[in-house]
Amino acid sequence: MPSQPAAPFYEVLKENERVTPALSGERYVGYFCTYTPIEIIHAAGFTPFRVAGGLDSVSLADTLTPNFICPYMRVATEKALRGEYGFLSGLVQGYTCDVACGLINIWKDNIGGDPCHLVPLPYNDNEASRDFLRSALKELIEKLDRAGGCFSEERLEHSLSLYDEIRRVILDLYDRRYEGSLPFSAGDFLTVIQAGYVTPPERYLGLLKTLRDEADHEREDGQPPSIPVLVSGSLVEEPRILEIIEESGGRICADDLCTGFRQWSPATGSGARPLDRVIDRHMRRFPCPSRSRARDRAPLIIDLVRRSAARGVIFLFQKFCTPHLADYPILNEELKKERIPATVFEMEETGIMEGQLRTRMETFFETLGERDG
């Protein structure tokens, strides 16, 4: 059962399932991950729409993809082939992982859309790489405009103000989560975030502000006895997974997820012109393993653990997710040095594997409980 403050967000997602988004009058451009410059898509007159995967079986996507890529991309492709994303005008994706890159090209030839564009993103931060990113974003703007967009600097200024405000409100909710005073569960919080993927930002910001106000009134003084943990990993789409963790004795007090903290921090970038601010924020964002070194991520995760008083870390990976799987041993080693216990769970496309997850989590929390007396 969703908590009262989160209920409107569940409603938004249900509404999105019931009513074809195309009928809303919006022109949608899809994207897979949050390294996509959605402010630019919005400033060009399109509504960014994060493509979902979810729990589903795959048959049509077998004709285009091998079974050893992440479940997210497989199920998303399955849904696209079933016509569920027929309302998307196009698809834009920042180059993050190899699978995202390959899928953009596969969608281009099998599902279609205009634009269908992959934005190359620099790995380094210096003057030349920022200039390069500026050129890459201008190329995207050209493509959006050719597809009927209406980009202008003034429009980008407006879009940035909306998205910056959204990020500020959500980071404010994260602060409350660290304190343990957020009056809804991690599953609800994920739903709040996911509603933003399918909703025009003007409407979403209004919902978020109401949520923040209600959260103020419903501050919970006492939390049920549970062990605070940080969840780190790739994309988690099923609120149920987070609910199982919390039902098993944990309380998710912080996260480093693709569907969580990584997309919000920092709320804004600096610079005189709006494009400068998009670039600056991109360069300083909380990093994904596909774009960074485990060595550099470890202290950031440890800092989140300290800030939120988490007592352990749960790694939740999409199966076959190379960036996360490759970083895990180094991250684990760094956490051990700091005496922060961790466990890992891989998610598959066909089901949550509730029994396995629950057993693993209960054992982990028992260990944490014993360790801390």
Binding site: F68, K108, D109, N110, N124, F132, S135, F320, A326
Partner: protein, 417 residues
């Protein structure tokens, strides 16, 4: 057939290749001994030419993996990597090199003396994620090595624009400055121009060698594709040009004399994706039914000409194009190349290796399969395997699928078994 097997080679120059491989690793160790800085780098980019032009020693950990597979070192390396907590779902190159550097690296029994420790790591941003992660792991393993964090636009070949090239050239210049600073070796631009000319000659020879594979019967099969070792490790040197000239002469002679890989060539095959390095003998398996693997995707990575008038731009362009041409970065271009090869090489059927260790090359394969069928009427078969891990490969399944596929091709061509 065994699960691990070497291929049967027919070229005289194949023997020269063995010598060339040994010499390369001896040179790497000799360089280390005499104090020439050793830099580990990923393959398929323009940094190799910069290294040779600056008298630095390039070493390719990714290329070491096929050598490990050929010598049977891979399972031991995998065990070490498993013990470190790395998933078995990760790329076999990553698992092999990680195990090697954390395990038997300094063991005296390692063939060819193994790899000399790096003084420099050219750590890529660009290329595929597993290669990027390999270098992150190496940075941690070799903390004294000087690290150059490279950056390269990841863009489809057909979409390359001026800003991509400008940034790639800027990165080339940054790399030269870095190498000068950490090694004291300076770039002689006349020398660089010579190296780029040699590199381009090697590419021209490569293309010429490949062109003789159009002959029926073909003088060169994928069983000999180990010759790409020179394109990986020696591009920009006279050694590569001399070796490839010898190969070209032999292949030309055989082609013009009508000497094929086998006496009775009946079916011409295309191979997509990386070979199974631990079992190159698979390429000979087709031969019992008159099949020869005439062309493959992977060799296209070296089929690039360089603009010798503009050496730095040429190397930047090579870096931008080489990997995308064979991966999912440029599926359309890759598909176009495969179709062109199948037309020009009179291909009867394609074998698509669905490679658990290489997602970037495997993605797009199904589009290629469909295009082959619809546009050329060329049938194909999918082989599930892995270029490094024989645990992900079933010989029996391979044989069953290939036998049935070959029978179908025989029927299609009106041949009798």
């Amino acid at each position: 057939m065994d699960k691990t097997k070497k291929s049967t080679k027919r070229l005289r120059t194949a023997k020269d290749l063995n010598r060339l491989v040994i010499d390369y690793y001896l040179e790497c160790h000799e360089a280390k001994r005499r104090g020439t800085p050793v830099g580990w780098m990923p393959p398929m980019n323009g940094a190799i030419e910069l290294f040779y032009a600056m008298d630095l020693q390039p070493v390719f950990p990714e290329n070491w993996s096929p050598v490990c597979a050929a010598f049977g070192l891979t399972p031991g390396n995998f065990d070490v990597t498993d013990g470190l907590g790395y998933s078995r779902d990760l790329c076999g190159y990553l698992r092999n090199i990680t195990g090697y550097v954390h395990g038997f690296m300094n063991d005296e029994s390692i063939p060819l003396g193994g790899l000399p420790e790096p003084d420099i790591l050219l750590s890529p941003g660009g290329g595929c994620v597993p290669v990027m992660k390999i270098f992150h792991i190496l940075e941690r393993r070799f903390p004294k090595a000087k690290v150059f964090s490279a950056d390269l636009p990841q863009v489809a070949v057909e979409d390359i624009r001026k800003h991509h090239l400008d940034y790639a050239v800027w990165e080339m210049n940054r790399l030269i400055d870095f190498l000068t600073e950490v090694t004291g070796h300076r770039m002689d631009h006349d020398r660089l121009a010579e190296v780029v000319k040699l590199s381009d000659q090697a590419c021209a020879l490569w293309d010429e060698i490949m062109s003789y594979r159009r002959f029926i019967p073909t003088p060169l099969s994928a069983a000999e594709i180990g010759i790409m070792f020179v394109m990986v490790t020696r591009q920009g040197t006279q050694i590569a040009v001399d070796f490839l000239t010898a190969v070209r002469d032999e292949v030309k002679e055989r082609a013009e004399a009508g000497i094929g890989v086998i006496d009775d060539e009946r079916i011409r095959l295309f191979w997509d994706n990386i070979p199974l390095w631990y079992n190159m003998g698979l390429f000979n398996y087709f031969e019992k039914m008159g099949g020869v693997a005439v062309a493959e995707t992977y060799s296209a990575a070296w089929s690039l000409r360089l603009d010798t008038e503009h050496p730095l731009e040429a190397l930047a362009m090579k870096s931008l194009m080489s990997y995308p041409l064979v991966s999912c970065v440029s599926i359309r271009k890759r598909k176009e190349m495969v179709l062109k090869a199948c037309r020009e090489y009179s291909i009867d059927g394609a074998v698509l290796h669905r490679n658990k260790s290489c997602v970037p090359i495997t993605l797009g394969q199904m589009d290629i399969k469909r295009a082959l069928e619809e546009e050329l009427g060329v049938p194909s078969v999918i082989i599930d395997a892995d270029h490094m891990d024989d645990q992900n490969f079933s010989v029996a399944q391979f044989e069953t699928r290939v036998d049935a596929f070959m029978e179908m091709l025989y029927e299609k061509k009106g041949l009798k078994l």
